[in-house]
């Protein structure tokens, strides 16, 4: 069995970003931080995709995480990055736990569109809620860290640093989870649920657990995105947002926990370029790129590094 190089690689990336991040221009810091936020969401989607389940509404939890962070700021003046991220994760995880009871019973199209439906319900609710700014949303307070307010020029770096550390921990934990019996059950559930049951495991329970993990990760990412972008609006729960996450998941592949972040980064670049060329055809570019990836790179970017999936 090959030695597991993932933790080491993750560590190297962590160090590299922390050290070199100090010298990167503001726009790069922004791009990377957003990539980390989206990467967290996609990390969760990757866990689900391994079971053969595609959530068309992961934006639900992304949005919950963002709004939780925003609300804490609005109601309690909280602006500590860590706290907001944890709050986002907790809120999303809780909702995921409750919804999981229903969703873990379904597969394939049912699962996909049920998740879409729930996220659109949230969208509808938020749009109708004047107190939360309706379609305009509201702003998030400038970030602080453990009570300290960094100088303006250092805010982005600070948020990046926190994001990198959190993403590192999350990736490491998920990597470990994927090596446990429940984690390894994913491709089995996808291939043959009857066999899984007959081995003595509950597919539904396993899916419920994975669903909650994915929800929590998405909430974490949403809170981070809210802090980085500085603004929250209902669009975060819209189906187009979920579409982007799905695209990144397919682009990245399910080979390794590093893949989602890599995919998110590449996506960020594609998005910036595409918007620069033609801002009104984004969905088309997204759809077209998704088709291209499915046909030519079915196992995602990560398969370029490795022939088979690692862990």
């Amino acid at each position: 069995m090959s030695r597991d190089r993932t933790p080491r690689t993750l560590g190297l990336i962590l160090l590299a970003l922390l050290v070199f991040g100090q010298f990167l221009p503001q726009w790069t810091l922004f791009l990377v931080t957003v990539a980390l936020a989206k990467g967290l969401v996609v990390l969760g989607l990757m866990i689900m995709l391994r079971c053969g389940l595609v959530s068309f509404g992961q934006a639900l939890y992304y949005c919950i995480g963002a709004y939780a962070a925003g609300m804490l700021g609005r109601l309690f003046g909280a602006s500590d990055v860590f706290t907001l991220m944890l709050a986002g994760m907790a809120a999303a995880g809780l909702v995921g736990f409750v919804l999981g009871f229903l969703l873990a019973r379904y597969r394939s199209i049912f699962f996909g569109l049920l998740s879409l439906a729930v996220s659109m319900i949230l969208y509808g609710l938020l749009v109708k809620t004047e107190a939360l700014g309706s379609t305009d949303g509201f702003h998030v307070l400038p970030s602080t860290l453990f009570g300290l307010r960094p100088a303006d020029a250092w805010v982005r770096y600070t948020v990046l640093a926190v994001a990198v550390v959190v993403a590192f921990i999350a990736a490491l934990l998920v990597h470990r989870y994927l090596g446990t019996p429940l984690g390894r059950l994913a491709p089995a559930i996808k291939d043959n649920e009857i066999r899984v049951e007959y081995m003595g495991a509950s597919a539904r329970h396993a899916i419920h657990v994975k669903y909650v993990i994915a929800a929590a990760l998405a909430g974490l990412g949403g809170a981070l995105a809210a802090t980085t972008v500085g603004h929250i609006d209902p669009e975060m729960a819209y189906w187009t947002t979920s579409g982007e996450f799905i695209f990144i998941t397919i682009l990245a592949g399910t080979g390794n926990v590093i893949a989602p972040f890599l995919g998110a980064l590449v996506f960020g670049v594609i998005q910036t370029v595409a918007f620069g060329i033609s801002p009104n055809t984004w969905q088309m570019v997204l759809g077209g790129s998704l088709l291209v990836v499915i046909v030519f790179l079915p196992n995602g970017l990560w398969s370029l590094f490795r022939g088979r999936k690692l862990a």
Binding site: L113, M120, K128, L290, I294
Partner: protein, 267 residues
Amino acid sequence: MKIVNVTHGSFYALGAYAAASITGALLAKGMPPSLSYAVLLGSALLVSVIVAPLIERGILRFMYAKDEVVILLITYALFLILEDVIKMIWGVNPYFIAEPYGLLGSFDVLDLTYPYYNLILVGVAIACGAGLAWMLGSTRTGKLLVAVIHDTEVSRAMGINVDRMYLYTFTFGSLLAAIGGAFTAPTVSVVPALGVEVIVLSFAVVVIGGLGSLPGAALGAVMVGLVRSAAIHYLPQAELFVIYLVMAMVLAFRPRGLFSIAEARKI
């Protein structure tokens, strides 16, 4: 067809947009409003007969061998593309095509004023449903289609032209979606979000009715429609919620929907 087809929503939107713009253009040129109903149908036909085969022959045909999740994502990608294509052709501003709706006037039932147009909608829906049922059960093509759906390999071995069957099915299915969109167009403002909304609602209908069951779909549609209208009337904020509540309740008692088709024995 055992394909989960997100593009279906796009055809609904295409039907609505095509109907709205073609009918609007012809009316402006002096077509008598009474012909607008035929034009609605014609637009739906036009748009689906042109676009559906292009998609099926051009892209989908090569993908049938793939994983069902992958096919789902492919139709989703096509949906994304078509959303923008629609925006490119028709823009983002809403279209209104009220003539077919207003032409027939309305009548009074109890307290309510009910437009005659809605009767046409119901009529078209029933005709489509009955037509589909008749086609599947009584025509040769329909029966061949059912065979293909059950097992493509055996069907091929028996000499059925499976590729052509798939083309017919996809086109016919898209036509039905387009008809739905075309005839709904006069009752709403045609906007880009139509596609997504209808997918989400259709899903509720199919889940409640049971996958693979035509009577189930019909019953599901009626239920969803009634519940939605009641919600809009009494509790507008809960409109979307209520449908999913109904869905959850139906699923709690009948996990496969109200009428589910029997599944072949697995072990």
